[in-house]
């Protein structure tokens, strides 16, 4: 009885927040605190439903919820909740719920409060619909809707020119990815139509199980591109990955994500850390059977993911803005997730498990980091780390929770045991998989990327912690601890960041493995991998102790570096320092020299060059994006002059057009 009822209600998961959006949009202004209670209740209900479904699935992974309704022609709308979707649903609704609660206080008094809650409710609805859609078109539709909400929320404070510019940039950049994604869908559709022999009643062409059942035939289709025989499956999957690059801020379309921090911090936490940016990872995971059957696609993902992880790490170290550090950190961690998926060419379906595991853990600790940062910004009023310092004294809870999040991000834990922060388990799993991959294919580049990125992660996050929370205030600010409505979500998230990974480590992976191995899809991964010329390893044995400990060692090394540079130097300055003291002023100047000196030599010239190159690269990509815009406008300005406004010119154009068209058509049809 309860079973059937639950299945019936699965579609409510995105519908409730959508309803909340409508209510808040129209009546939010008349309700207290922008009608926040409506979306909170709706999302709480969605969370409860998703959690119950997840728990039921956990008990019986085969019992996938799948409902499809005809939309038009061979397309459908529907709900598909398998283990992969279930964990995403629970995570998204949970994080969204906490952030909505937190935002009640954070956004209090903002004139656009009602608009804020309406937009976030719509965003949550779209994101949930993205996760549980059972066909690629519905996924794309939600994908676009999510992008639209992100655009609106980044530009939430549109009075600020920088926010409006950031919104525009985000929209345009992710659009590049969306165009690739759509192109992939169109190619896929036309291929499927060809293979299925046109429209057939009763089958929903773009539903995932239909698509997957055509994988062998798809991979047999080839096109000749610049002399290379390329499988259609590779083209389609790489175009999908193109969409993921845009949404998940992978190199080189990452430029929008740091700028997106112009939105309210809660938005950064919800959209640009925990949920929307992971949509790209989710897309790749969702269509993973296609990826594994496509030659070369996973390799591209592994390289690009690993490179993004490293690249964003180098950027993270040089930022002084609290939120920007976190933004680059997000890009870097998303790179890890992509890397994890890309390693599927060696470890098979386990890749989805480790990547999603990191995704979930990351959602908890990154949301926590952002909310803590928001708490600091809210209380102190600045987000420039050079002006902060010693915040621990005024905001003890925030400092504690943020330190926990930092430990989770850096991945602290004891290898070989089940003691550790959640980041430790998931990130180590990816790094170990990269090691396996290296051993397997003698290609150590992904492993090198992941280890280097782990070191950088540890450095930048503890630099942030030390610069913000320890030492003496470097400017006059008046801080206070945030109210309980903000600190309670922080504490809940902190608990999750600490223990979630350790508690669910083995169960999680096994659960996710069921995604593509249950009755609904019923795929043979081995044969699919063979199509993609990927060899999957047998169950791997235990790696040597050194391999297990190395990520931990570099994390500690990073902590040590940050400690030496950003903590110890404060002690040297002494407790007497104050801006009125001329001696201190001198020291302060010396400190700057000192800082440059130590940074340069302790991190080494190599790092300096890498960081410099990263920034140059960033500028170049940025200017390409801008340049295309400027070029278009320029061409447009010139072309519009064609329209002289004189009728005679118009008539001449018509006749010339007719004459040339005749000649052209004649010529071409004769020649061909």
């Amino acid at each position: 009885m309860v079973k059937t009822a639950l299945k019936e209600f699965a579609f409510l998961i995105p519908l409730l927040p959508a309803l909340a959006f409508v209510i808040t949009f129209f009546f939010g202004r008349k309700m207290s605190s922008g009608g926040a209670i409506v979306p909170i209740l709706a999302i709480a209900a969605s969370f409860v439903i998703s959690l119950v479904i997840t728990l039921r699935l956990l008990a019986n992974p085969g019992e996938v919820i799948s409902q499809s309704y005809s939309w038009f022609a061979v397309l459908n709308i529907g709900v598909l909740i398998d283990p992969l979707a279930a964990v995403m649903l629970s995570m998204v609704s949970f994080v969204s719920l906490l952030i909505h609660i937190y935002a009640v206080s954070y956004m209090a008094g903002d004139p656009g409060e009602a608009r804020y809650f309406a937009e976030t409710a719509l965003f949550t609805a779209a994101m949930l619909s993205l996760v549980l859609s059972d066909n690629i078109l519905q996924l794309f539709v939600s994908w676009e809707l999510v992008g639209l909400c992100s655009y609106l929320l980044i530009g939430f404070w549109f009075e600020r020119p920088s926010a409006a510019a950031a919104a525009k940039k985000a929209f345009l950049t992710t659009r590049v990815g969306d165009v690739m994604f759509l192109t992939g869908i169109i190619i896929l559709t036309s291929d499927l139509l060809k293979l299925a022999g046109g429209f057939q009643d009763g089958t929903y062409l773009l539903r995932f199980d239909e698509i997957f059942s055509y994988i062998p035939q798809l991979s047999a289709l080839h096109s000749n591109i610049f002399g290379f025989e390329v499988s259609h499956l590779t083209i389609i999957t790489l175009l999908f990955f193109g969409g993921a690059i845009g949404k998940s801020g992978q190199f080189p379309l990452h430029v929008w994500l740091p700028d997106a921090m112009e939105g309210p911090t809660t938005v950064s936490a919800l959209i640009h850390a925990a949920t929307m940016v992971t949509a790209g990872v989710y897309l790749v995971a969702r269509t993973f059977p296609m990826f594994i059957a496509a030659p070369d696609s996973l390799m591209v993902i592994a390289y690009l993911g690993g490179f993004t992880a490293l690249f964003a790490g180098t950027m993270g170290i040089v930022m002084n803005d609290l939120k920007r550090v976190l933004a680059y950190s997000t890009i870097s961690q998303l790179g890890y997730m992509m890397l994890g998926l890309g390693l599927g060419s060696a470890i098979g379906l386990e890749a989805v498990g480790i990547s999603l595991f990191h995704l979930i853990n990351h959602a908890f600790f990154k949301a926590l980091l952002f909310l803590c940062a928001g708490s600091v910004i809210h209380a102190v009023g600045t987000q420039d780390m050079r002006e902060l310092g010693g915040v621990r004294k005024v905001m003890p809870i925030t400092a504690a929770t943020m330190t926990i999040a930092a430990l989770a991000l850096a991945g602290f834990g004891i290898p070989g045991t089940s003691i550790g922060t959640s980041g430790f388990f998931s990130k180590d799993a990816i790094i170990e998989a990269a090691y396996l991959f290296g051993e397997h294919s003698n290609n150590w580049i992904p492993y090198a990327f992941s280890i280097a990125a782990a070191l950088l992660t540890s450095i930048y996050i503890f630099r942030l912690i030390f610069m913000t929370f320890t030492g003496k205030p470097r400017s006059n600010y008046h801080g206070h601890e945030s109210p309980a409505i903000m600190t309670i979500p922080l504490s809940i998230l902190a608990i999750f960041a600490l223990v979630f990974g350790g508690l669910t480590k083995t169960g999680f992976m096994d659960f996710l493995k069921e995604t593509f191995a249950n009755s609904f899809v019923n795929l043979n991964i081995g044969s699919l991998a063979a199509l993609g010329r990927n060899q999957i390893l047998e169950a791997a044995g235990h790696e040597s102790l050194f391999v297990q400990w190395l990520p931990m060692i570099v994390a500690i090394a990073g902590l040590a570096v940050a400690f030496i540079i950003y903590y110890l130097r404060i002690i040297k300055l002494g407790p007497l320092a104050s801006m009125k003291n001329p001696v201190y002023r001198l020291l302060y100047k010396r400190y700057y020299q000192h800082e440059i000196y130590t940074e340069f030599f302790s991190l080494g010239i190599v790092y300096g060059i890498i960081a410099f190159l990263s920034q140059v690269l960033d500028v170049i990509i940025d200017s390409i994006v801008e340049g295309i815009g400027i070029l278009t406008v320029g061409v447009s300005e010139e072309l519009r002059k064609v329209q002289t406004g004189v009728i005679q010119t118009y008539a001449t154009a018509v006749i010339l057009g007719v004459s040339l068209l005749i000649i052209l058509v004649k010529l071409i049809t004769e020649v061909l």
Binding site: K641, Q643, T644, V646, I647, Q648, I655
Partner: protein, 100 residues
């Protein structure tokens, strides 16, 4: 019997003269006259074809198109008159506030 192609050649020539007029004249009235020329050269074509294929459709079409040309001229002159009332001139190349 005059070969059909003579008619076609004449029609094409008349049509081109009309076109040249539309493209070079500034005066609106002259332009409308040139357009009439083009329409009538097409009519000439129709009538010639009608005779040479021994079907009457072409001549019927020509009669319709003469009526249409009259209506077209009426609307055109009315617009010109409205322009003349406003600007005191009918030189259409000076009418270019809408451009680019």
């Amino acid at each position: 019997m005059i070969p059909l192609i003579f008619y076609l050649g004449l029609a094409a020539l008349l049509f081109s003269i009309g076109l040249y007029g539309v493209m070079t004249h500034k005066n609106g009235i002259r332009m409308i006259m040139c357009i009439e020329l083009m329409l009538n050269s097409a009519n000439l074509n129709l009538v010639a074809f009608s005779s040479y294929t021994d079907t009457l459709n072409g001549q019927v079409f020509a009669i319709f198109s003469i009526a249409l040309a009259a209506a077209e001229a009426a609307v055109g002159f009315a617009i010109l008159m409205a322009i003349y009332r406003m600007h005191d001139k009918i030189n259409l190349d000076e009418l270019n506030i809408l451009r680019w």
